[in-house]
């Protein structure tokens, strides 16, 4: 089945991922790619705590994830790969150019970011990073839950998708 979704979500593992996507996709595993979490047993336990026991959670840095990606994609179960920010996903794709789609699932308000969608706020640098991904052949869409429309990056950047 392989990885069904490459998602950027600053909440990492939470309800939308475990239940919202997890149930319709019948998720077998989550690959959480984040330097801080990969280096902290406590953080890993925190995120593992609420995940159903039948669902595996793998923790990795982008470099580790690059080495594991082939194995994850050979898994018979569907999986989601998560990063908490655009830069981590960009680093991973730089190492693993086989990744061709990216889902913006939740990038919330912070100083310097402006509203694009209800669940997507971006700084000018982040906008440019996403444009660069698309110039490199990666399709970027925003979609918080499976029942929502996948909004193309150009519509996201115009900030007009929900107006």
């Amino acid at each position: 089945m392989a990885i069904e979704l490459y998602r950027i979500d600053d909440r990492l593992i939470h309800g939308q991922v475990v239940v919202g996507w997890g149930q319709p996709l019948n998720l077998g595993f989550i690959a959480l790619v984040d330097d801080e979490v990969a280096g902290s047993e406590w953080e890993q336990e925190l995120y593992r705590m609420g995940v159903p026991p039948e669902m595996d959670v793998y923790f990795a840095t982008p470099e580790d994830a690059n080495r594991q990606l082939e194995q994850w994609n050979a898994d018979q179960r569907p999986g989601i790969l998560l990063t908490g920010d655009i830069d981590t996903m960009r680093r991973l794709i730089g190492l693993s150019p086989s990744i061709r789609t990216v889902n913006l699932g939740g990038i919330h308000h912070r100083a310097g970011r402006t509203l694009k969608l209800r669940y997507v706020y971006l700084s000018p640098q982040e906008e440019e990073a996403l444009r660069a991904l698309e110039r490199g052949g990666v399709t970027v869409t925003a979609q918080d839950v499976p029942s929502a429309r996948a909004v193309p990056l150009e519509d996201v950047l115009r900030g007009e998708a929900e107006r």
Binding site: D10, R11, L12, I13, H14, G15, V18, V19, L46, Y47, M49, G50, V51, G84, G106, I107, H108, H109, R110, R118, Y119
Partner: protein, 132 residues
Amino acid sequence: MSDAPVAIVAAHGDLAFGFVSAVEQITGRGELFLPMSNAGLGASDIEKAILELVDSRKIRVIFTDLPAGSCTIAARRVLVARPHVVLVTGASLPLLLDFMSHEELEPAQAATHAVDRAVRSLTTVPGAARGH
């Protein structure tokens, strides 16, 4: 328990506000709970909001909805900084009603009692033909 809020209810969407509204309707004691939503907030903002309420309102108990939800993750981080606070996941109306009805107990004890009651409140009622 005093009339001041003793617990936060943190949940998805408007659920926490609905819980507190229901507690108010049933008992008139909705003021014991502070509702908050995670809608539109990133992980660090949820944690910051919970921590501010814990400190400013001297909160001893946090109720959240999903065990794997972002409110629970944020609350667990708050517990590291404020270990006197108790976290209860899987919030439900029976849970909150039992909690607030045991004012003689310390909030942490009341939370433990409420969890036991809430678990027992989950029942399946099979259909049956109406008797004569």
